[in-house]
Amino acid sequence: MTTEIDRQWTTRLRKRVVETLPPDKLLPDTQPAYVASWIYVFGVTTLAALAIVILTGCVLAMKGPLWWHLSGTGHFVNSLHLWSVEIFFFAMVIHLWGKFFMAAWRGGRQLTWITGVVLFLTSVGAGFTGYVSQTNYDSQWISTQAKDGINATGGGAFFNVLNLGQMLMWHIVLLPLAAVALTAVHVIYVRIKGVVPPFEEGK
């Protein structure tokens, strides 16, 4: 007989979460022996780089958009932000191709693949809005060039790349929120489904 406690939304949600992702899947202490290649490093490298990107971005946000032009420390933090972004994309692209060649969508892992692709696009948007929010010549040139592409799709009516305030908000609020949320979903799917097994040869 189910009790009132069993029927509570909270109880049902907790049971569902624990069933779908038990603690030993969320934080495993073993992994299949086939996970033994340098290619597996690039997923965690992307995550680590994202952490550094967010951390350095937070420092830049604390001091405001013009700080890094006026202070040596600010310029150094900007350099950290730039290079962590370069590492982030480098690792993510290798991760993507690695997962493609493993056909990592097999065995009910399609959603992991799709969230990864959407995450890549979100990151491209986050990188782009960062480039046009630099408040220097690069941002002037990149925004005046990029406007034609976005305007041609009709997107320019809502997404004005020449509007610094709008681009900065997308860069430091909306896109990071989306990227972090999607990363969480992506990693949780990986933990639920596990790492894709190798192809069976001869079949």
Binding site: D29, T30, Q31, P32, A33, Y34, V35, A36, V44, T45, L47, A48, I52, W68, H75, F76, N78, S79, L82, W83, S84, E86, I87, F89, F101, A103, R106, G107, Q110, W113, V117, G127, F128, Y131, N136, Y137, D138, S139, Q140, W141, T144, Q145, A146, D148, G149, N151, A152, T153, G154, G156, A157, F158, N160, N163, L164, V196, P197, P198, E200, K203
Partner: protein, 316 residues
């Protein structure tokens, strides 16, 4: 009901082999430390580019004739922005993908009237200049054909004019109030006042640089600087940044289409719209790879996986 046949491109075999110890927290910590150190090393070695922003002031002081000629095109409606179409104005349809006029459908949401916003309105903010006030009144009350006549005469003079002793030297007969207006606008630009006037049209606080950026993009100063810094569209454009930095290297595929026919040749007039449409199609294919027969078989057929899982296959 018969069990669905195993499809090696969709289904994964059940793994019954060995498991190895795995410390996920330690791995994550090491990754963060290594990436942090690598970031610091790269930042110390290579820093980051920060080329100062161009201003209307720096543009009009460096090349006053280019500024004046551009301002004239904003006034007579022949500049890139004045003839752009949506989302700035309805001077054109905008780019199309076949019969689809996407930009036009989305409408004019970033209204820009170059003659008024870039020339007349900023000049109207200048106080205590009776000659200019009278010129603006004359311009405002003139018929459009009269204005067009003045603009044609002044543009002609401007093309062979010069800038010396701090003023425009333009020989143009029957140009009405335009010598006064363009002279005042050039002086205003060179003082830095036009930079302010262009961004404060909606009030004191501002975060929107649409107008000065469009104005500058219509001139050649910004683009010439880009050419020197290998940033033009035909130099793989906006994926680069000033100096020798990697820039947005991940945009290489998007930028590449602009360099190759037919995007760079017969499709040139609608290149932006077509490149975007094509990239959206490719992205959709990438996202939907698990469901596309043929495409999803590529990994199994090219066998790069044998390299990735070579230990696994060796031990079998």
């Amino acid at each position: 009901m018969a069990k669905k046949a195993f499809n090696p491109d969709i289904d994964a075999p059940e793994y019954k082999g060995k498991y190895s110890p795995y410390d996920i927290i330690k791995e994550g910590t090491i990754a963060v430390v290594v990436v942090a150190l690598l970031t610091v090393v790269l930042a110390v070695l290579f820093s980051s580019p920060d080329e100062k922003a161009v201003t209307i002031k720096s543009w009009s002081n460096a090349t006053p004739m280019d500024f004046a000629a551009t301002a004239m095109t904003e006034l007579d409606g022949s500049s890139g922005t004045a003839t752009y179409g949506p989302p700035y104005n309805n001077a054109a349809t905008g780019q199309q993908v076949g019969p689809l006029t996407l930009a036009k459908w989305m409408g004019i949401n970033v209204n820009v009237n170059t003659a008024n916003d870039f020339v007349v309105a900023p000049l109207s903010t200048l106080a205590d200049q009776p000659a200019l006030t009278s010129a603006l009144t004359t311009f405002a009350s003139a018929s459009s054909s009269r204005r067009a006549n003045w603009e044609a005469n002044y543009s002609k003079g401007l093309s062979s004019g010069s800038f010396s002793n701090g003023v425009l030297q333009v020989a143009a007969a029957n140009a009405g109030p335009l010598p006064e207006m363009l002279g005042a606008l050039t002086a205003m630009a060179r003082s830095g006042a036009l930079d302010q006037a262009l961004v404060t049209q909606k009030g004191f606080y501002t975060t929107d640089y649409t107008k000065p950026l469009l104005f500058m993009a219509d001139g050649s100063f910004l683009a010439n600087k880009a050419q020197v810094q290998h940033l033009s569209g035909d130099q793989w454009g906006m994926m680069n940044e000033t100096g020798s930095y990697p820039g947005q290297a991940w945009l290489w595929l998007y930028t590449m289409w602009y360099q190759v026919p037919p995007f760079s040749t017969s499709w040139g007039a609608n290149a932006d719209a077509l490149v975007w449409a094509f990239m959206m199609l490719l992205t959709l294919l990438l996202a939907l790879t698990p469901w596309i027969p043929g495409l999803r078989s590529i990994p199994r057929k090219v066998k790069v996986y044998r390299l990735i899982w070579r230990e696994h296959y060796k031990n079998m």
